[in-house]
Amino acid sequence: MLEALAVGLIPGSAYALIAVSILLTYRMLGVLDFSQTTVGAFGTYTGLALLGMGVPDFLAATLGVVCGMALSAIVGVIMVRWFAGARIEIKSSVTVAVMLALIAIAFRVFGNEQRPLTNIFPRVSFAVFNVHFTLATVAGLVFALLIGAGLALVLRTTRVGILLRALSERPTTAELLGIPVGVLAVAVWAAAGGIATLAITLVAPNRTSNFVTLSALLLPGMAGALLGLFRSVPRTIAGGILVGLLEGGSGYFSAIAPYRDALSFVVILLALLWSQRRDTWDEAR
């Protein structure tokens, strides 16, 4: 049973990071970014391509993250330039289009071949309840916590944080007040892209490394953000880890193992109902 929980932490740490990046774009910019993991995968694969050309592991991975940030910033510029006043549905649909376009481009650019992966960390692992945790997994968890804490700190105590909160709550008013809304928005996009790339770079060794499969990590990431009710960072991280625990742990119970995906859906449904438990009937509708 404990082994089941421990196994779940491995994907859980990745989902937590992805969930945080999705929360970032949602809270700050009012967009549900469906292209987050695709951008992350693109950045990761750029890093892998550089690795294939002889660039040392750590540098290749870092450049991959930078590429992810740049790509996400480009998406941000598109959003700010053309979709600034649009509704959340429109903006989110644009990110879907970006995701599809990137998948098609990635297929042409990176092809189908399997590639050796970056070894940023030495091959050390330690066992917890018979499950071995590599340094990459631990790093994923640590980064999720650090970024989450850092985000909370920035938003609450720094000037930039206040500007960002203004941007998210009243974008038009903020703009009229002279806050550089466009620049801030693009910065948030870039940060989210960087976090997503980091997440995928850390998790790629554990999973089928295929561009579309890595992009599909969006779903458990969003499930994690949803479990955190898209509100606070600590809850989002917990949500991501919980999704991982459900996925990894349910394999231990052969009765429910085939229904793993449905299980996440049930949990999300329960989370949503629970969040609305205090609403009266009319409000909920």
Binding site: P11, A127, P258
Partner: protein
Amino acid sequence: MQKHISHFASFAVAVAAIAVGVGLVGGVARAAESIKVGAVSSLTGPMNWPESTAIAKAVFDRVNAAGGINGRKIEYIVEDDKFDPAVSGAAAHRLIDQQGVVGMVGSASVMECAVNAKYYLQKNIVSIPGTGIDPICFRTPNIAPVNTGPYLGIAVSLYYAATALKLDHLCAFTPAIPSGKVGTDEAMALAEKLTGQKILVDDRTVQGGDDLTQFVLKAQRSGCKAVVYAGVEPQAIAWMRAVKAQNVTGITWLMLTAAYTDQVGKVLGADGEGMYANSEFEPYLSTSPALDDWKALSTQAKLGLSSFSEGGYLSATIFVDVLKSIKGEITRDSVTKAFQALTDYKTSMIGTPFVFGPGKTHQPNHSSKMVQLHDGKWDVVTPDFVTLAD
């Protein structure tokens, strides 16, 4: 009266001349008309198999360069089903109804057989896939793949582990694809019958993008001594990485033919040491003379070497030989009839003769050779094909 007759006569002569002229021209046009051949493959999408149709085209191009078949060139039309059943069905309709193809050759798709088998039967057309994947490919009257297929591949691997490697506690992990149930059921039953052992773990819940750690640990926990994992190339790599990360030792790992590639050896390196895979055809990395022509053609057409490419080459070669054997006009019906009469096509690229025949199901290739990874390179460990009795 004379005038009428002469008018009528000249009119009749004119008509006759036109008729003969049209007949001649029509005849010439028909002789130059190409033989249309189709294929429906998953060329793009999360999993894809482009190798089979690429080499099949090279085979047909070579035939055309040598003058075609009875002066007719082969026109090979390949459709991409993009991993989408709706697109797959539409593609088959287009090829058969609009293009009028006489046969399907070299298809390699996850679902094409399941989607189109009934239509092929209805339209009396045969399909010789280069890579048959879903179970329906091996269970309908009009489709006969040249490859062993994943389900028999699982059975062969388990059989090899039990008889040649003398292992017990056999386990199998297969992808969670509902349409594969009938194939997996049969594979497990066959394996149990041939090995005399009960399969210890028959796990069918591995999803495409899963973290494979939990399955590797399950194999360890359950006491498996030999594990067959039916994943495609990137999944096989992820599996062995998880094995290394979790420090699992004492288990023999067997992958399917999708893992038998040069890249797997390079990418895994020491992590894949001792891993087995089954090769549905004469192992492509070996120097067997059976592969000489295929290798030469691949080099000439600037195509890479792979196990799946062998399938495309073989299916196209068999098709060309059957076309050449047809006396009379080459039409869909005559092609189908010729295949239904094909009962013993010998080729050293597979372990059993290719048989189509009049049967209701076709599994002509029911053997494999086993290969093993050492030092990042593949060695052939079974000099003879491991053939399963049906």
